[in-house]
């Protein structure tokens, strides 16, 4: 059940990422063409592009968590027996879920503030609570279904 939910989330994230990346490339190209033909850039596009990168990055980061592709220290674990590695994975899951849980709790307040200040435009930051929630979920999943990372 939890794993199915995770797979569904992964599909939704992947679909959104492909859409956002395509839109980023198209908008960026449009802006270059517009600047060279009409002599000025679209302010709206210029303001919107970094926000799109933010969405791509946070969606990519939560996907990286699912694929075990995040940057880490890689100092010790490779030398430990697989059973110990599995136990450590559970601890890592618990720690990560706590940190991301705190982030999610804070991000709800943060979002309320954004909506108050920017109105509907505040929704542009809604990827932040989504990111914390999905990451927290994936860390929790790691407690129940630990797996040994390939080094």
């Amino acid at each position: 059940m939890l794993k199915t939910l995770d797979r569904m989330l992964e599909k939704a994230e992947s679909g959104m990422l492909v859409l956002l990346f395509s839109a980023l490339i198209i908008l960026m190209t449009l802006n270059i063409v517009q600047r060279n033909i009409f002599g000025q850039s679209s302010q709206l596009i210029l303001e919107f592009l970094p926000t799109m990168v933010m969405w791509i990055s946070l969606l990519g980061a939560s996907l990286a968590l699912r694929q075990g592709k995040h940057i880490r220290m890689e100092l010790l674990v490779r030398f430990l027996p697989p059973r110990t590695q599995l136990t450590l994975q559970r601890f890592i899951g618990a720690f990560g879920a706590c940190v991301m849980g705190i982030g999610f709790y804070l991000s709800l307040d943060f979002m309320a503030g954004e909506m108050k200040i920017f109105g509907l435009r505040g929704y542009l930051s809604s990827i932040i609570p989504f990111f914390f929630a999905i990451s927290c979920f994936r860390y929790l999943l790691q407690i129940f279904y630990p797996h040994v990372e390939a080094h």
């Binding site: 992947s14 990422l17 492909v18 990346f21 395509s22 980023l24 490339i25 960026m28 190209t29 802006n31 270059i32 210029l46 592009l49 970094p50 926000t51 990168v53 933010m54 791509i56 990055s57 946070l58 969606l59 990519g60 980061a61 939560s62 996907l63 990286a64 968590l65 694929q67 592709k69 995040h70 940057i71 880490r72 220290m73 890689e74 100092l75 010790l76 674990v77 450590l88 601890f91 890592i92 720690f95 990560g96 940190v99 991301m100 705190i102 982030g103 804070l106 991000s107 307040d109 943060f110 503030g113 954004e114 542009l124 930051s125 932040i128 990451s135 860390y139 990372e149 080094h151």
Partner: protein, 432 residues
């Protein structure tokens, strides 16, 4: 021991058991900000810093260059670039090694020394070097080192990130780092030349087994004719000042897509592009989340005056600029061994910048020193990431790779001394 110290120790332990670094920096930032005056609201700063990234225009270049490098490595472009370089310099002793080095440098500028170069070019270059009679040790050393050469050339991703973190003009960084980058390549090329020259003399071989032919150059140029304009776009775009770095990233991406999908037909738009976009997003995400959370943490360190305290303690040891540079290099090599390049930039640069400024070091010179140190850290035992990647790529034990890369390590240290103590090399490009 206070509660704050206990929390820091726990976080350090989790870092050691390999919790992803973005989580470690999030935990550090939350803990440090909370314990300032035990106020939960302080922790909001982390989210504000994370959200502030969405107003950093230069970051747009990061996913675009990453996507370009992911596309290139899945095609035969690295092989064509390698063939072109070989036709140019393959005629001289050490020519194949130098050609390999140049091809590695070109690929690394786009991939940011993330190990992609060793994976993409290693499989092509390693058998070629062995077939031409280079020793296995030399070939492995060259490939381990080649995976980090190129960070000083545009459009180097670590340099873009450095510019974002240090709030330094990216064009200045690119202009300043160009000559030190050439010095690095020259030093290793001279070594490759001398190595092969001696080997051939000792074995009674001809000095060259591939005479220079314009015909060869013409045919490899024709073969790589669609990839070579990438260099021209970067050079004209960035050094000519006609377009922004973001626009260069977009133009190169469109060019690579056009060439690999329509001209070369080695990359399927609907089958391969979505997969590659996900690959690039994962890579970008893992870098930018570290940047986002570490910014919150380094903001705390700056609020607590950590750089000022460090300056005071460094000045108590010596006020001499040259001694400071030496101490900084030793520190940075250590950092390069234990941290990946992107994390090191995000965490160390904000602390190091004000200290270096106190000792009169120009930000562009500091950037060059910083990146050369991290290049060395990538091949420095015991934790250099290139050693680990090469070990799994070539199925060789780490200790063998350490010995193989030792001469190259010394050469890079020599280059480091040169760029550190001759600031002119880094500053002439920006007219200082």
């Amino acid at each position: 021991m206070t509660l704050f110290s206990c929390v820091l120790v726990i976080i350090a332990v989790f870092a050691l058991i390999e919790v992803p670094l973005f989580t470690i920096f999030a935990a550090l930032a939350f803990a440090c900000l909370y314990f300032v005056d035990s106020d939960v609201d302080n922790m909001q700063t982390v989210l504000i810093e994370l959200n502030r990234l969405a107003s950093t225009p230069i970051l747009v270049a990061l996913p675009l260059f990453t996507l370009t490098s992911c596309i290139l490595k899945d095609t035969k472009a690295p092989q064509r670039i390698m063939n072109f370089m070989e036709s140019l310099v393959g005629w001289m002793p050490g020519g194949l090694a130098i050609a390999g080095l140049l091809a590695c440098a070109m690929l690394t500028t786009l991939t940011g020394a993330s190990g992609v170069t060793i994976i993409a070019l290693g499989g092509i270059l390693y058998p070629m070097l062995i077939n031409k009679g280079y020793s296995e040790r030399f070939a492995l050393g060259l490939l381990v080192t080649g995976g980090s050469i190129g960070l000083l050339f545009p459009p180097s991703l670590p340099m873009i990130l450095y510019g974002v973190v240090a709030k330094t003009d990216i064009h200045d960084l690119f202009n300043g780092a160009l000559i030190p980058g050439i010095v690095l390549i020259l030093i290793i090329s001279v070594y490759a030349f001398a190595y092969d020259f001696r080997r051939r003399r000792a074995a009674g071989l001809q000095l060259s087994d591939r005479p220079f032919h314009w015909k060869d150059v013409a045919s490899t140029t024709k073969e790589a004719a669609w990839e070579l304009p990438i260099i021209a776009i970067v050079l004209v775009g960035i050094y000519g000042g006609f377009v922004t770095v973001n626009e260069v990233a977009a133009v190169i991406l469109m060019w690579v897509l056009f060439v690999e999908v329509i001209i070369k037909k080695e990359f399927a738009l609907f089958k391969d592009l979505p997969r590659t976009m996900l690959e690039a997003a994962v890579l970008t995400g893992s870098i930018i989340t570290i940047l986002g959370f570490a910014t919150g943490f380094s903001g705390y360190l700056i609020d607590e005056d950590v750089p000022t305290k460090l300056i005071e303690s460094l000045k108590s040891i010596s006020e001499n600029r040259l001694v400071f540079l030496l101490m900084m290099n030793i520190f940075l090599i250590f950092i390069g061994c234990v941290m990946d390049i992107f994390t090191a930039i995000v965490v160390v640069v904000p602390i190091l910048m004000p200290i270096a400024e106190q000792f009169g070091i120009h930000p562009v010179h500091l950037c060059v020193i910083f990146l050369v140190n991290l290049e060395i850290g990538l091949i420095h035992p015991p934790l250099g990431i290139n050693l680990l990647i090469a070990s799994s790529r070539f199925k060789k034990p780490i200790d063998e790779l350490v010995w193989a890369s030792m001469p190259f390590l010394f050469l890079l240290l020599l280059a480091l001394m040169i760029v550190t103590y001759i600031p002119w090399l880094s500053l002439v490009g920006i007219g200082k």
